[in-house]
């Protein structure tokens, strides 16, 4: 929230989202259900006014939106249409407009050759930041929830895995580029992708490879469309190496460095973080 308190939204056993938030004394409110059952994890984002908005794939594969009121309660879902196959991903543009990305659901038609993949589609707020435009397709043949990041110069980068398990990206400057593979072919990607922005503005991507290890790739320079080839994480060998079993989750620390969290096949939470002097440290895993 704008006052620094943390809000968590998660899908419950009944597929209804529930939210909780910190009190000012750092205790937490009870989990509160929000509307109907949904089909994905939610995407939370802070809007230009400092309020929180929540987006989720709902019944009929539509995009649902809920806005948090000043008192912390969440408004009823509004249906923003679409035919989503994945979780929605929300991003705030440089001018404060929100934009939502997802992969489009297959047609369901018999023998649809594209039922294993779909194009990236997006929906954005108009300049009044209140009304929404129409869904548009950015094309592509993609298979997992996209990751989206805004460069310091306002260009938007979209990343998603393709059926060959490579990472594809497309960027919007004044117009959209086509899709191109990045990171090379050394890694067969076995997860969704997450993206973080370094303190110097360069983007860094994290995935799980088919060997159940984590890999990362990063910009050669801020705002650049160029990424280096995948490198295995961490830089320091862990003993024993955890067998990772989730999409990475990246957080940015107060000094601008990253901390990476992944579940391993024993169900433990494994973490590594970056130190400028030592690189990425060995995994530490905790049972949860």
């Amino acid at each position: 929230m704008s006052d620094g308190r943390i809000v968590i939204a998660a899908r419950g056993t009944d597929n209804v989202l529930r939210t909780t938030m910190q009190h000012l004394d750092a205790t937490w409110t009870p989990w509160t259900p929000l509307g109907t059952s949904v089909l994905s994890e939610p995407s939370l984002i802070q809007n230009a006014a400092g309020g929180l908005e929540l987006f989720v794939r709902g019944p009929g594969n539509h995009l649902l939106r809920s806005v948090q009121a000043a008192n912390g309660s969440w408004g009823a879902y509004s249906d923003l249409g679409g035919t989503l196959a994945t979780e929605p991903v929300a991003v705030k543009n440089a001018d404060g407009r929100l934009e939502i990305f997802a992969i489009q659901a297959p047609s369901g038609a018999a023998n649809d050759p594209d039922s294993h993949a779909g194009p990236v589609v997006h929906l954005w707020q108009l300049s009044d930041r209140a009304t929404w435009g129409a869904w548009a397709s950015r094309g592509g043949v993609l298979t997992a929830t996209p990751a989206v990041a805004l460069n310091n110069d306002g260009t938007l980068e979209v990343f998603a895995r393709d059926p060959q398990a490579r990472l594809q990206h497309s960027r919007r400057t004044t117009s959209w580029s086509g899709w191109s593979a990045i990171g090379g072919t050394r890694v067969t990607i076995k997860s969704g992708t997450v993206v973080g922005k370094k303190a110097d503005g360069r983007l860094e991507l994290f995935v799980r490879g088919s060997d159940d290890a984590a890999y990362h790739s990063w910009n050669s320079a801020a705002n650049s469309a160029s990424f280096n080839s995948w490198q295995k994480l961490p830089d320091v060998i862990s003993s024993p190496e955890p067998v990772l079993d989730s999409t990475p989750s990246v957080t940015t620390k107060s000094d601008g460095s990253f901390e990476l969290h992944m579940r391993d096949k024993q169900g433990r939470m494994c973490s590594t973080h970056f130190l400028a002097a030592r690189g990425w440290l060995a995994w530490t895993c905790l049972a949860v």
């Binding site: 419950g12 056993t13 023998n111 993609l142 997992a144 997860s191 579940r263």
Partner: protein, 305 residues
């Protein structure tokens, strides 16, 4: 009579022995009737679900009102005391059925589905597989000869199956639905039908399917259905059909091991859906009990075409 699900019926529905005449349908209704036996002529313990739809494709209740949430328009049960293997017909065994469907019934999308049952009401495919029969418009449909196929375990030209892997974005995934419908009759005149499939994380296998014909197979993962038609099923064989679906970056970790709930991996995340609860809901929708097979649920099935 009152159908076995307890719903009142405004028009006659009956199951009777071969010697017993069926009651005539009232004027304005559409009759559907015929015989139901095993492929080998035995009398069976069978559940008969009949779907009537109107010209708009809306499911009807027996009183002619639209009822999209009904599992079936009407349900019959023949010989509920027989074992799932049935027996050579005795005078007391029911081998015929009849129902009087609403006058607004305009078939083309509706059909009859047949499930072999044990004495507890569980769909049991130890000797017979399911069968179905589309009801082409406009009706009525008298004199249908419905037969349930012999399974491979008891006949060398018996049923087959469709099976394969299911991945989401390249990672093994667990589907939630997997029915299959015959696109036409096999040489014995049987239209095969699977109400569902058996699932593991990363695979599915349909129920027993009458061999010698092609199928429409629909596998649902993450609320999206991948449909493949023209899938040939051969006697005592498993046809391979692998599927790769679109996936979430953070997919559900649900694992349907008996009696377990899926683990959550973060203290900030609530537990994933309980598989036990999900199975219970599916069984209730099917009218069957105790089966590990995913079964029919109302309102989501598309007509086999």
């Amino acid at each position: 009579m009152r159908p076995p699900d307890g719903r009142a019926s405004a028009v006659p529905v009956s199951a009777s022995s071969a010697a017993g005449p069926a009651a005539p349908c009232p004027p304005g209704t559409k009759a559907v009737s015929g015989t139901i036996t095993g492929e080998d002529g035995r009398a069976l313990n069978v559940l008969v679900g009949i779907d009537a739809v109107d010209s708009s494709g809306q499911k009807l209740a027996m009183d002619g009102s639209r009822a999209p949430a009904l599992p079936y328009t009407t349900v019959l049960r023949l010989n509920p005391t027989l074992p799932p293997e049935g027996r050579p017909p005795m005078p007391s065994d029911a081998t015929t059925f009849s129902a009087c469907l609403p006058s607004s019934t305009h078939h083309g999308n509706g059909n009859i589905e047949l499930y072999p049952k044990n004495q507890r009401g569980t769909t049991t495919q130890t000797r017979y597989g399911n069968a179905m029969r589309p009801l082409p418009a406009p009706g009525p449909w008298p004199g249908l000869a419905l037969k349930l196929p012999l399974v491979c375990a008891v006949h060398p030209q018996g049923t087959g199956r469709v099976s394969g892997t299911v991945k989401a974005a390249g990672v093994l995934a667990q589907p939630t639905r997997g029915p299959a419908w015959a696109l036409g009759p096999n040489p014995q005149g049987i239209w095969g039908f699977a109400a569902g499939s058996r699932f593991t994380v990363g695979s599915y296998t349909t129920q027993e399917l009458a061999s010698g014909t092609n199928y429409d197979v629909r596998i649902t993962y993450n609320a999206m259905t991948t449909r493949r038609t023209g899938i040939a099923v051969h006697a005592c064989a498993t046809t391979r059909l692998d599927l790769d679906c679109i996936g979430d970056a953070s997919p559900s970790r649900a694992r349907c091991s008996p009696g377990t709930a899926a683990p959550s991996w973060s203290s900030a995340r609530l537990p994933a859906p309980s598989c036990t609860a999900a199975r219970t809901r599916r069984r209730a929708a099917a009218g069957g009990t105790g089966s590990a097979w995913e079964a029919r649920s109302s309102g989501t099935r598309l007509p086999p075409r």
